[in-house]
């Protein structure tokens, strides 16, 4: 990494489609919270899921995670998995209480 500071030129097309996807996902969040009232508890889960997808897209395309070595991707994956475990265990506690 120290010497190979090659520039990554991302096409306008890629930037634009990522942006478009983010906007669409935002609409989806709003839609779910306004019209998806009968989803009940699941509406929180849906909002979290959409937010996670958006964050991943930002990290991957805008923050250039896609160009990074595998080790960084693995580190990201471990952190996400840990976070998922936290959520799962708390949810198990709630659902079986």
């Amino acid at each position: 990494m120290e010497n190979n500071k090659h520039e990554h030129i991302t096409s306008y097309k890629e930037h634009f489609s990522t942006w478009l996807a983010l906007i669409l996902l935002t609409f989806m969040t709003v839609f779910v919270s306004v019209f998806g009232a009968d989803l009940r508890t699941l509406s929180v889960a849906t909002a979290m899921l959409i937010a996670t997808i958006k964050a991943t897209a930002v990290a991957y395309y805008f923050m250039h995670l896609k160009y990074e070595p595998k080790i960084y991707k693995a580190m990201m994956a471990v952190v996400l998995a840990l976070f998922a475990f936290f959520m799962i265990m708390i949810t198990i506690d709630y659902l079986t209480r």
Partner: protein, 537 residues
């Protein structure tokens, strides 16, 4: 091991004046400033502990009223956890020795390192400011459990902000060490040629980096709830207090490995040096540090068995908790095997390490008793817990901290301490420590609850034994600390390598020059613990 007569300027003399310390970027000076701060707070915390033991000398009121007692144990806990034990080994010995052990001249981000020190100072200021501002220090216990922490009139907000700021200091230290270990190892030193203390710091740093933000946000939620009554945790306004406990322990269980892992790293450094023998199971020790750090994320629920968490969640956490015992015992067996057939030299640092193993064994085994679901229902919130965590934190990490201080003292100040006095101090501390805490384990099994200023008359005898133990403990501590201060001022000059160590810090002068090494250190060919005179076979 260059000639000692050559003139050179040590990092202590390179620049002088108070500013050259307060704004230094030298990892060694930052380590020393941390040391002075941390030891000072340790003494404040110990004084508060002593006060509590005085109060518990007899049933009924001896010294302070119940409310003050609650504030004392909270402040004691906050100081000991956030200002002493979490920063202790990483901030002092990690800062001072990580670059030396890796054969480099500083940490990766010296300015962040200084910032992290100043955040420590700021956090300490907040913690102490509760004594002056608001309605006095928090009375919630160091765990700040909701909903009480949301409702009490004491200055919880400021105590919590102190912990928040100290968390940032901890995150920056962790980040710094991770990058240092990845980027700044001396050429030819692969991960598997790193000293084991560096491995343990690496595992610790990942916990600091990933777990600390969770407590940060949780503490801010407490502040928000106090100020705006949001209803996150307080059931009377729709919150869930168990959610607080989940979030608190998602950090605070991994945090106990922030306390324990660096201490284990210290043991893995000191044992080989004083047995002049290759460490037994290098990779097993190194990787078990990573395993402990990893598994540590999955067990937080064992603090909540009696909190109203669901049954199935409790079983899962109880089973997962037992997994941590595996990598921990791997370490203990490897340490004992390292001593086996070594050429053992009994010196004070080694004694501290043997005491560590003894105390940590008691701490660890009582921990398993607490991790067992059925046993914990009886033992939870009794003095058994107080005994258990003092055995782990004080008997384990505390002893490792003082052992490391004796081991590296000659390197840090270029002076040798008075060995007889150090030995006497150690012996008194070890005996006093066990008299102080062992009775607590028995009291707990008998059912004496923790966090009370009073107890039933049948508990009197063991409480008095424990209080006498606290006096012996403090005597030992005073002898140790006074001896080190006096020796630092006018002890005999130390050689560059008084213990025949072969890790890289012993290849430079005592005390080291500003940039650590005058010439590239040579790394031992067959791993960091390949003692040249060791018996083989």
């Amino acid at each position: 091991m260059t000639s000692e007569t050559l003139p050179y300027t040590s990092y202590l003399k390179e620049k002088t004046g108070i500013m050259s310390w307060l704004f230094t970027l030298d990892h060694k000076r930052i380590g020393l400033m941390y040391l002075y701060g941390i030891v000072a707070f340790f003494l404040v915390g110990a004084t508060l502990g002593l006060l509590m033991r005085f109060e518990l000398l007899n049933p009924g009121k001896d010294l302070v009223d119940p409310h003050t007692y609650n504030q004392i144990f909270t402040l004691h806990g906050v100081i000991m956890i956030f200002l002493f034990i979490i920063p202790s080994i990483p901030a002092v010995f990690g800062n001072f020795f990580l670059p030396l052990l890796l054969g480099t001249d500083d940490v990766a981000f010296p300015k962040l390192n200084l910032l992290s020190f100043w955040l420590y100072v700021l956090g300490a200021f907040f913690a102490l400011a509760t004594l002056i501002f608001g309605d006095g220090p928090a009375d919630t216990g160091w765990t700040f459990y909701a909903p009480y922490s949301v409702k009490t009139g004491t200055n919880v907000t400021m105590s919590v902000l102190a912990a928040f700021i100290l968390g940032f200091s901890s995150i920056l230290t962790g980040l710094n060490f991770i990058v240092t270990i990845h980027r700044l190892r001396t050429p030819k030193m692969g991960f598997n040629q790193m000293p084991l203390f560096a491995w343990s710091l690496y595992a610790t740093s990942w916990i600091q980096l990933l777990a600390t933000p969770v407590i940060g946000i949780t503490l801010l939620m407490i502040v928000a709830e106090r100020m705006f009554g949001i209803g996150l945790f307080d059931p009377s306004i729709g919150g869930d207090p168990i959610l607080y406990q989940h979030m608190f322990w998602i950090y605070s269980h991994p945090a106990v490995y922030i306390m324990a892992l660096p201490a284990m790293g210290i043991v893995s450094e000191i044992l080989p040096t004083f047995s002049q023998r290759t460490i037994f199971g290098y990779k097993a020790i190194a990787y078990s540090s990573m395993a402990i750090a990893f598994i540590g994320y999955f067990v937080w629920g064992h603090h909540m068995f009696t909190s109203g968490m669901s049954g199935p969640a409790a079983y899962i956490f109880s089973i997962l908790t037992f997994l941590v015992a595996i990598p921990t015992s791997i370490k203990v067996f490897n340490w004992v095997s390292t001593l086996y057939k070594g050429s053992i030299v009994i010196e004070v640092p080694l004694l501290f390490m043997l005491a560590f193993i003894f105390n940590f064994l008691i701490g660890g085994l009582t921990g398993l008793a607490l991790g067992a679901l059925a046993a914990d229902v009886h033992l939870h919130d009794t003095y058994f817990v107080v005994g258990h965590f003092h055995y782990v934190m004080f008997g384990g990490t505390g002893f490792a901290f003082f052992g490391a201080l004796h081991y590296w003292f000659p390197k840090m100040w270029g002076k040798m301490y008075n060995k007889t006095r150090a030995y006497i101090g150690f012996a008194i501390l070890f005996v006093g420590f066990n008299i102080l805490y062992f009775p607590m384990l028995i009291l707990g099994i008998q059912g004496m609850p923790r966090r009370y200023y009073d107890y039933l008359p049948e508990f009197t005898f063991l409480n008095q034994v424990s209080t006498v133990g606290s006096w012996i403990t403090v005597t030992g501590l005073i002898i140790i600390i006074v001896n080190l201060i006096v020796s630092g001022r006018n002890g005999k000059k130390a050689t560059d390598n008084p213990w025949n160590g072969i890790t890289l810090e012993w290849q430079t002068k005592s005390p080291p020059p500003l940039h650590n090494f005058d010439k590239m250190p040579t790394i031992p060919e067959r791993g960091p613990y390949d003692y040249p005179n060791a018996k083989r076979g």
